[in-house]
């Protein structure tokens, strides 16, 4: 039998291939093989004791019970099954997943897993916890997969099978394409990755055949896409109804700064708010009807409309109500009408000191770990229970990303600005679509929108990311202020530059019209207000080879890639042209 951790000595149980050698030694061994996420939660557990419950009355705070299957089990699994060849190959993810399903889990841990399921018959989350996540302080958010299982079959054998399938699925995800790409992009060697697995009691309540938490979310103590008046260090929180998949997958969420909880996301109109707020949520399907597919992440998950949640009576703290007659939102559920997930009772009416708690946790974790953090959490109400699910380090701007004043005005600079959203370096862009400065006229913005759509369609079809340079307020409703495009018409742009010139001196949108897409797709967004001294090097741009010429726009294809650098900490950014070497 594999060594298990005595529960009273260690907050999480560990299932390991390493033989028991005494409690303290095992503790050290255990820490070594539990991976980044589990270690993060271990640190967080100690931190939670520092939270002052006086400031957050009425909320129980915990980390759901969990068992970690150590990396020694993963090592044994990989050694005893002929998986290495397919794992490191370039075959499709589903073939890797199938191969892992065919393989056998080390027999030494089977007893522990069965014992676990004898005690736990509630829905479980099977999560990854890779060693690289810890040692490299890389977030790996959304890179490895999580599987939720209902774990409610009548017989233990069925539940055991489902658990084993889920563990193998999470292990397989170590080698999926997105993980390989991520390692490549971050200079990590995927061969060194070892995957521990967290088996965690799922937070939520059962409503007939539906199991889900009322609230889930992600909070970050640093935000590269702050919306005024928030600053990057004020952080950001994204909230959703139901399972956190909505947030992690970049679905419709309510995003706000924990320093300014009553300031809503920058929606243009009430109708935008209705369109852009969450109306479907994820849950675990507790019925016996599901499509058997052990290599599908959502095998036991379903999406339901917010109306189902209203029937389940879980919206009390989460919604406002839209009044069709007066076109107005009222906080709470006092009136009849569509419910809108604004989380106003929590954030405006403070029915529960939720935002205080999030602030406290972020501050405590950041000061304990000495770097910005990202947490994932879930909540159930009545009684109110806040569960911390994950703690991850945040990728913060490194020293090399600090942009100096000299660089902004350097000779090899195509574009520079001190009003830039995003963070990091982008080096694979060779195409630029721009609005011609000499013939730009606000009278023509509707036609320009059509031209941009055509460029976007063509470049998307050819899978070519591009820099988009426009004048005025991009995405405005008012064609006299800028180009009235919808996100779909420019969605292939990886860098967007909103510029001004003598005949377009307007307040720029600074990304607010598409903030959700920009955040999710990590688009670098340059704003160049008329008042700042930096200008685009039009002379250089107009010398570049033209691939498509429109009436008011032009698409140029460069011989070499551009280098786009954004210092997210200061909000400064720079785009180097391809003729001069980028400074080290």
């Amino acid at each position: 039998m594999a060594a298990g951790m005595p529960e009273e000595l260690y907050p999480f149980k560990l299932i390991s291939m390493i033989r028991k050698r005494g409690t303290s030694e095992i503790s050290l061994d255990g820490q070594f093989e539990i991976g980044g996420k589990a270690l993060g939660l271990l640190n967080a557990r100690e931190m939670l004791t520092e939270i002052n419950s006086v400031d957050v009355p009425g909320i129980d705070i915990d980390i759901p019970d969990m068992v970690v299957i150590g990396t020694s089990v993963f090592d044994a699994f990989m050694e005893r099954n002929p998986l290495a060849e397919i794992a490191f190959s370039t075959v499709k993810d589903n073939r890797i997943a199938h191969a892992f399903q065919q393989a056998t889990i080390p027999f030494e841990v089977l007893g522990d897993l069965r014992n676990l399921l004898e005690k736990w018959s509630m829905p479980l989350a099977i999560r990854s916890s890779g060693l690289l996540e810890d040692s490299m302080q890389q977030p790996f958010a959304g890179v490895y997969l999580t599987k939720m299982i209902p774990n409610n079959a009548v017989d233990l054998e069925t539940r055991f099978q489902k658990l084993v399938e889920a563990i193998k699925f999470v292990w397989a995800s170590t080698y999926f394409q997105v993980a390989k790409d991520y390692c490549k992009a971050t200079n990590l060697d995927i061969h060194t990755e070892k995957m521990a697995v967290i088996v965690q009691k799922m937070v939520g309540k059962r409503h007939q055949n539906r199991y889900y938490p009322e609230l889930s979310g992600v909070a970050r103590s640093y935000n590269f896409y702050p919306v005024k008046p928030a600053k990057p260090e004020d952080g950001v929180v994204s909230l959703a109804l139901g399972l956190g998949k909505t947030v992690v997958d970049g679905g419709k969420t309510w995003t706000y700064s924990p320093k300014y909880p009553t300031i809503p996301p920058p929606f243009k109109t009430i109708q935008d708010t209705l369109q852009e707020t969450q109306n479907e949520f994820w849950l675990v399907n507790m019925s016996e009807e599901y499509e058997y597919n052990p290599i599908k992440e959502t095998e036991y998950m379903l999406q339901e409309n917010i109306q189902t949640a209203e029937k389940d009576q879980v919206l009390e703290h989460l919604v406002s109500t839209y009044d069709l007659e007066t076109d107005r939102l009222s906080m709470g559920m006092g009136g009849n009408g569509p419910r809108v997930l604004t989380f106003a009772p929590l954030l405006h009416l403070r029915t529960i000191p939720f935002n205080n708690l999030v602030n406290q946790i972020l501050q405590a974790l950041e000061s304990r770990l000495s770097y910005p953090v990202e947490i994932e959490f879930a909540m159930t109400f009545n009684p109110h229970c806040f569960s911390l699910l994950q703690v991850r380090p945040m990728k913060i701007p490194k020293d090399s990303l600090v942009i100096s004043e000299d660089e902004l005005t350097g000779a090899n600079t195509l574009i520079a600005s001190k009003h830039v959203l995003g963070n990091g370096i982008l080096e694979n862009v060779q195409d630029i679509v721009y609005v011609k400065p000499d013939c730009f006229d606000l009278k023509l913005t509707k036609q320009i929108a059509m031209e941009l759509e055509n460029h976007n369609k063509r470049l998307l079809a050819e899978n070519r990311p591009y820099v988009l340079i426009v004048f005025g307020r991009l995405g405005t409703l008012d064609p006299w202020l800028g180009i009235p495009v919808t996100w779909g018409q420019i969605c292939g742009a990886r860098v967007i530059v909103e510029a001004t010139q003598d005949n377009v001196i307007v307040e720029l949108s600074q990304g607010s019209h598409y903030f959700h897409n920009i955040i999710n797709l990590d688009v670098k967004y340059f704003s160049m207000p008329y008042s700042q001294p930096y200008r685009i090097d039009w002379d250089w741009l107009q010398r570049q080879p033209v691939e498509h010429e429109g009436v008011s726009t032009r698409h140029v294809n460069l011989d070499q890639s551009l280098t786009v650098k954004v210092d997210g900490k200061n909000g400064w950014g720079i785009i180097y042209n391809n003729e001069l070497k980028t400074p080290a």
Partner: protein, 451 residues
Amino acid sequence: MSVIQDVIANLVEKEIGQPEFIQAAIEVLHSLEPMVPKHPEFIKAKIYDRIVIPDRVIMFRVPWVDDNGEVQINRGFRVQFNNAIGPYKGGLRFHPSVNLGIIKFLGFEQIFKNSLTTLPMGGAKGGSDFDPKGKSDNEVMHFCQSFMRELYRHIGADTDVPAGDIGVGAREIGFLYGYYLKIVNANTSVLTGKGLEYGGSLIRPEATGYGAVYFAQEMLATRDIDINSKTCAVSGSGNVAQYTIEKLIQLGAKAITISDSNGTIVDEAGIDQEKLQFILELKNYRRGRMSEYAQKYKVPYFENKGVWDVLREQNIKVKVAFPSAHENEIDQNNAQALVNNGCYCVSEGANMPSNLDAVNVFLNHNVLFGPGKAANAGGVAVSGLEMAQNSIRMTWSREEVDQKLQVIMKNIHRNALEASETYGRKGNYVVGANIAGFMKVAKAMQAYGIV
């Protein structure tokens, strides 16, 4: 040089830095060319010269304190353009783009829009460069109160009655009206777009859709055609489209299409009351996609295609079209396909859904074409009806408001048609609407002498 050209040249010379206003004035003035020779009295009274200059422009500072205790300052505007036919009436826009040129442009257009409704409403517009987007409720309230602290002395039930516009919805109207009430202590109809509890009118969400159908009914009546049993196409699935379909069902017509940003459904059996209920539930409550309609009722669904593309590609015949989704949704090809497939009436529920080429196709093929400024005037009309109810201290039932809306749409149609006939473009509602709107104001101005 014609008198119109003179006025335009003068405007370009004097109104420096207001390109939006100049553009709007040029468009309106050009559309009046057919009537100029018939009305030398307007030239004599310099009506064209006078109408492009506002009665007065009010500009003021709007200081307020944000949630961090910082003092913020915005610019406030109210351009009272013309009150020849009634109290100034026009929206307030809160948006960072707002400047004097934009407000003048909007106020100028409002004169003719209001006049066309046949209700006694002059033209005005106002607003501020304040951006409510991303502001807390408290900040919006503080701003609105500061805005009203100056505006209150310039408005009144018989003087100037602002309404909402971009950035000014029910929340802002509530804050503005609440503060007016506080400082003036008079519960009068000084704003429209109010909540039902404090003076708002019923039928506001329905007005534009119902109005577009009434306008189509009137156009068809000129050719002795009854809309009953006619196959109709409706685009969009917002308020306008939903209530267009509701009214079509009530009148016995058959709407066969509806769309959202993801695609279009074609239900050749017609959307009946039960199906419409499903749509209302789907779009307003579930906020789901039209593909769910296709699944439920087993009808074709065309993903990522608009109604007019689908009708063209599938050669589907409709008699009446109600473009109710967005600007420029019908281009020349789609317009030609509609004509080829037997469409003889188009009533625009949205603002400028047919582009210029499409409009020309309709006019050249003798299609009854109701331009948005006339066909979708139902919304403005209900603002007028809100003022009327407030003035007589009465609240009309849904049926009463709907009945009055129908009368207004009939009047708009009659005036536009008569104007088109008088000036030699019979049945051209584009020309007719522009001239009808202008004529009423011009005649009133002339009656007042030189003031």
